[in-house]
Amino acid sequence: MKLTLNVWRQSGPNAPGKMVRYDMPGVNEDMSFLEMLDVLNESLIVKGEEPVTFEHDCREGICGSCGFMINGKAHGGFPKTTVCQLHMRHFKDGEELFIEPWRASAFPLVKDLMVDRSAFDRIIQAGGYISVPTGSAPDGNAIPIPKSNADRAMDAAACIGCGACVASCPNASASLFTAAKVAHLNLLPQGQPEKFDRALRMVTAMNEELFGSCTNMQECEATCPKGISIENIAILNRHFVEASFSERPATAEVGAG
């Protein structure tokens, strides 16, 4: 089949960008979206033009590297699908597609369809972990975890950090990403000691990274390739406010020996 692509081209963060039109004949319906872009890039290189830069790695929907907007929807808006797992059979012959990078202040553009998502790493650095040094763990079965809690934690932990939630949110909010991590760890007994601290620190970090606020519109949930529920955002809100009210100043005294 034949498609017309409008792709955002921008050579660097400070360069001007624009949509560029490409005709794509001979698209096979079993191709993935990225394979279709591979074909485009090969043809551009042969013509002596610069290929389109886009991020990708595992191409099986789990590493979270890939992602851009297709016709105004993150990853194309198909349920539980990243662009690398989106196959061309979902498109119609002759269709015109608009391909744009994630847009958010917190995700500065690097080149073409590639953006810098290191803000997510910094949110994790603020508290998205359980402080357990190597070697200090009790037996894996020492603390039983109700299956339903383990399952809910797993639902939240499925996040691949692709940034679709931010991209599709009308406010470029990172609430779903942050909430997924807080919920994952706070639902487990191992996460309890740092539960409130974690919520406070991660929310503060999220704020400092220039993400917008959640207005409960559910766009994130709809385009999340892992189908992570906004129920997690409610959990985040709850733990954050509990934490704000129950927080105490840290005790300064440290044991000296």
Binding site: N71, E100, S105, T215, M217, I233, L236, H239, E247
Partner: protein
């Protein structure tokens, strides 16, 4: 080791909550909830216009509300501050959210978001102007053609006989319905009350209460214009 980042946090504890987007959303949710309960009470009071002795009932109701000036003003100030906080906080969030995406998309297609949620920034400002007009119209009387102190029945009927005024009320109350369809549900979510078991229940509660409020309020100017209410007044 800087293990307690909370201590490092630049934000003072009591202000910390408000300085974050989540804290702001709490403020919006709590003030929104208070305003929501007020609008329900307000509507129920007004629906006394359908009682057989409406003029007397409404006058008595007005007297009851004015029984204690201190209490009345306390409530009024409380509502006013809720209103102001609600609006100011939203304005701040609006700016934050605009700054979070300075460059928009060439194409953006909504998926799961409701029409109501996408039009909050439209319904909100309309309601803001409506409240100003409504206070001048039926509380202060300054924009009312024949305002009579402490006779709400008279003021309503005469006021709503002006088609333009009524039209604005109908539009504004439709906006209120739209606003609350998202707002009430959103309030639960912002306050951390969401659960797969109750998600639909909360959604339905929001939609039904918003519709009821909207229809209840709209019915009054419509009935006045149709002559169903106020036949006794010239």
């Amino acid at each position: 080791m800087a293990s307690t980042a909370v201590a490092n946090s630049k934000l003072h504890q009591s202000l910390a909550l408000y300085q974050t987007a989540i804290g702001k959303k709490y403020v919006v949710a709590v003030t929104g909830a208070i305003l929501f309960f007020f609008t329900i009470g307000h509507m129920l009071g007004n629906l006394q216009i359908y009682l057989p002795n409406a003029q007397e009932a409404l006058a008595n109701y007005a007297k009851l509300l004015h029984a204690s000036a201190e209490l009345l003003w306390a409530v009024r100030l409380g509502l006013l501050s809720c209103f102001v906080l609600h609006v100011v906080t939203i304005a701040q969030l609006y700016n934050l959210n605009r700054a979070a995406r300075p460059q928009g998309y060439v194409r953006k297609t909504p998926t799961l978001s409701t029409y109501a949620s996408r039009t909050m920034y439209l319904s909100g400002p309309i309601l803001f102007f409506f409240v100003l007009y409504h206070l001048s119209h039926l509380t202060l009387g300054s924009t009312h053609p024949r305002y009579v102190e402490m006779d709400p029945y008279h003021n309503l009927v005469i006021g709503f006989r002006q088609p333009l005024a009524s039209l604005f009320y109908v539009i504004a109350m439709s906006m209120l319905g739209l606003h609350l369809t998202h707002g009430v549900w959103s309030m639960f979510q912002s306050m951390g009350l969401n659960h797969p078991k109750y998600r639909n229940l909360l959604r339905n509660f929001a939609t039904i209460s918003a519709a009821a409020l909207s229809i209840g309020n709209i019915s009054i100017p419509v009935c006045v214009l149709l002559g169903i209410i106020g036949k006794d007044l010239v």
